[in-house]
Structures are given as C-alpha cells and as structure tokens.
Subunit: 224 residues, 2 copies
C-alpha cells in the first residue's frame, strides 16, 4: 500500500445567536496563504488526540468555552483546497449559547462574529463549509433539539422562537410554535418571569434534558 503524504486539520464552524442574528466566529489569518483573509477557526490534529478532542481543543483555544454542542459536519479533501499541499480537513460545527462570553483573541488572533448573511471573503474552501454547516443546522433544527444549545439555561418562549426564526430565516406563528414545543414535552416552566423593557414579563423555561433522553432512545437522534 502507498503512503499518503497528507496532513489533517479540524475546522470548526462556531454558531451563535447574537443581536438577533445567526452569527459565526471567524479569525483573521496572520500568515500566508490567504494572509489577511477571514477563516474558520481550526488547526492540525495532534498525534495522540481524537478528531473530536482536536476540535474541542481548538474551540477552547479560540474561544475559551468548554461546554458546547459539537458535531462532526463533513470532511473536505479536494487535493487543491490548500495551496501549501495536501491538507484534508474534518469540519465540525459548534453551537454557543448567546449568554456565553468569549475570552477574546487568546492566541493573539483577531476573532470576530459575523452575521451569516454578511460574510466577508473567506480563505480556502471555507465558504463552502459554512454553507453546508447552515444546511445541516437548519435540518437538525427541525427534527432535533439543537436549538436549545443556542440559548442560556433559562429562556422565554419568545427567545426560543427567535432562535428558530433567525436560523430558518422566516417568521413562525407564535401559537403553532408554542403548541409544538409543548407537545415535545421537553420544556420545564419555571416560577420565574423576566421583564423585557416596557412590556409584560415573560415566563422562563428550562430545557428538560431527561425527557429529551427518551427522544434520543427512540432513535430520533444520532449515535455520535
């Protein structure tokens, strides 16, 4: 068998809802190739770590956050995707709660949130990766509970609906949305309300993980 002179990276599409928009975290490249361009955070897989560990490490280095939803997206391996040589990347996507503050630019890299609808020119094939990540996120939103990963622990139903609306990029009907969430049976209402400026206070809810497990057991979700 032939040896393959290949290097492997992980790249992580980091989504968050900020300022009522779906945003992704990008870093500005300091070196060639694509110096000055924006890129998805990532880096080489180290010798003794799994792909997921590598993704978590990069995520920690880039943002300082630890507890996030992380899912493998797809592997991209066009021979010409990196001008430096043969580099295959395993792309992940991560969801960060809008409450989580990032430790800014830890390894002296310029990092910045961009609304998905206003992406700058990107390095490598990162535009393609981002677009596929959005497709997956939208699909997952419809048949799983990933949406909750983008919210803080306590949230109102309007918060939740806004998450769905900005990701799917369409208005949803409030009554239908609430009924659906209610039927899912994974929301625990709290005895807490939150005043949002000048109007009626909104009841807060918590995502009920253990009811969610039953859904998982019914095979609605995925094994990794």
């Amino acid at each position: 068998m032939e040896r393959s002179a290949v290097r492997v990276t992980v790249d992580i599409v980091i989504f968050s809802i900020r300022e009522d928009a779906l945003q992704v975290l990008l870093i500005r490249r300091k070196y060639d190739p694509f110096r000055g361009r924006w890129a998805i955070p990532g880096g080489f897989v180290l010798d003794r770590e799994s792909l997921e560990q590598a993704a978590l490490r990069e995520l920690r280095e880039e943002t300082g956050v630890e507890d996030v939803y992380l899912e493998q997206l797809y592997s991209f391996g066009d021979p010409d995707r990196d001008p430096r040589g043969r580099v295959i990347t395993v792309a992940y996507f991560a969801l960060i709660s809008s409450a989580q503050a990032l430790r800014p630019g830890t390894d002296a890299e310029e990092a910045q949130w961009f609304p998905f609808s206003k992406l700058p020119p990107l390095a490598f094939d990162h535009r393609k990766i981002l677009e596929y990540a959005l497709v997956r996120l939208r699909n997952k939103l419809e048949y799983t509970t990933v949406g909750f990963q983008l919210l803080p622990e306590k949230f109102s139903l309007s918060d939740l609906q806004r998450v769905y609306e900005v990701i799917l990029d369409k208005k949803l009907d409030k009554r239908n949305f609430r009924r659906k969430m209610d039927l899912l049976g994974i929301l625990r209402p709290l005895r807490e309300w939150r005043r949002q400026g000048v109007s009626r206070p909104a009841r807060l809810y918590r995502f009920s993980a253990h009811r969610f497990e039953r859904l998982r057991d019914k095979g609605i979700l995925f094994p990794f």
Copy 2:
C-alpha cells in the same frame, strides 16, 4: 503549527439487497494487523485525488462497478483505531443494485457478501462504522429516494417494498406503501410485466429521475 504524522484512508460500506436480505461486502485481510479477519473495503488516499475519487477508485478496484450511489458517512479518527499508527479514515457508504454483478475478487482478495444480521468479527473499528452506516441508511430511506439505488432499472412495486422492509426490518402495509410511492410522483409505470414464478405478473416501473430533481430543488436533499 505542528505537523501531523497522519495517514488517511477511505473505507466503503457497500450495501446491496441479495436473497431478500440487506448485505454488506467484506474482504478478508491477508496481512497483519487483523490477518484473516473480515474488513470493510478501503485503502489509502492518493496524492492527487479527492476523497470521493479515492472512494470511487476503491469501489471500482474492489467490485468492478462504476455507477453507484456514494455518500460520505463519517470520519473516524481515534488515535488507537489502527495498531500500525495514526490512521484516520473517511468512511463512505455505497448502494449497489441487486442486478449488478461484481467482478469477483479482482486484486486477489477474498470478497464476500454478509447479511447485516450475521456479521463476522471485524477488523479495526469496522463494526462501529457498519452500525452507523445502517442508521444513516435507515434515516435516508425515510426522507429521500436512496431506496431506488438498490434496485435494477426496472422493478415491481413488490420489489421496492421488499427493499424498504429488509432495511427497516419490519413489515409494511402494501396499500399504504403503494399510495405513498404514488404520491411521491417519481415512479413511471412501464407497459411491461414480469412473471414471478407461478403467480400473476407484476407491473414494472422505472425511477423517474427528473421528477426527483424537483424534490432535490425543494431542499429535501443534501448538497454533496
């Protein structure tokens, strides 16, 4: 940045319906590690080929078939998954029509179909890969048209139903199944019938690709 001393393979889970069962093609390893064990066909990615090209090449080498449904499954990169060192594999799955004959054991490798329900002990983490492939195949079956890829060009509705039944491992109602297929609007009835032994001849159908494209455009499918 650190170099990663990694090699990359593609492995292909090859599904087919044979003898009214879902089967996978395995090859017997001739060399260590895991000499004598059965394994999913695969091999190293070459310098100038994409991941998909590598998968297609392995598929051709292993089976002689060219026109198949091929989809990337998942990348597996546990540091200890291969005793020879760091090998990351990008797993694909392929669907082969039951009509397609394989060029047998071309590169002097012993290849054999195994019913999914009677898998032998497998090399590496290939058992895990196979199990995930089945989960994906089942999911895809429900919201896409991959099922047709397992049939020859002309098929009866009973043939089609059998595909669904053996993959999902449950009996389906004939009338409901036919109505659903009819509503999908992707079957073209032919003026041809086939006698199956001693009973009434079954009408044959053809999968209508161009109607299918409309479904694809509606975003029901995936980009790769």
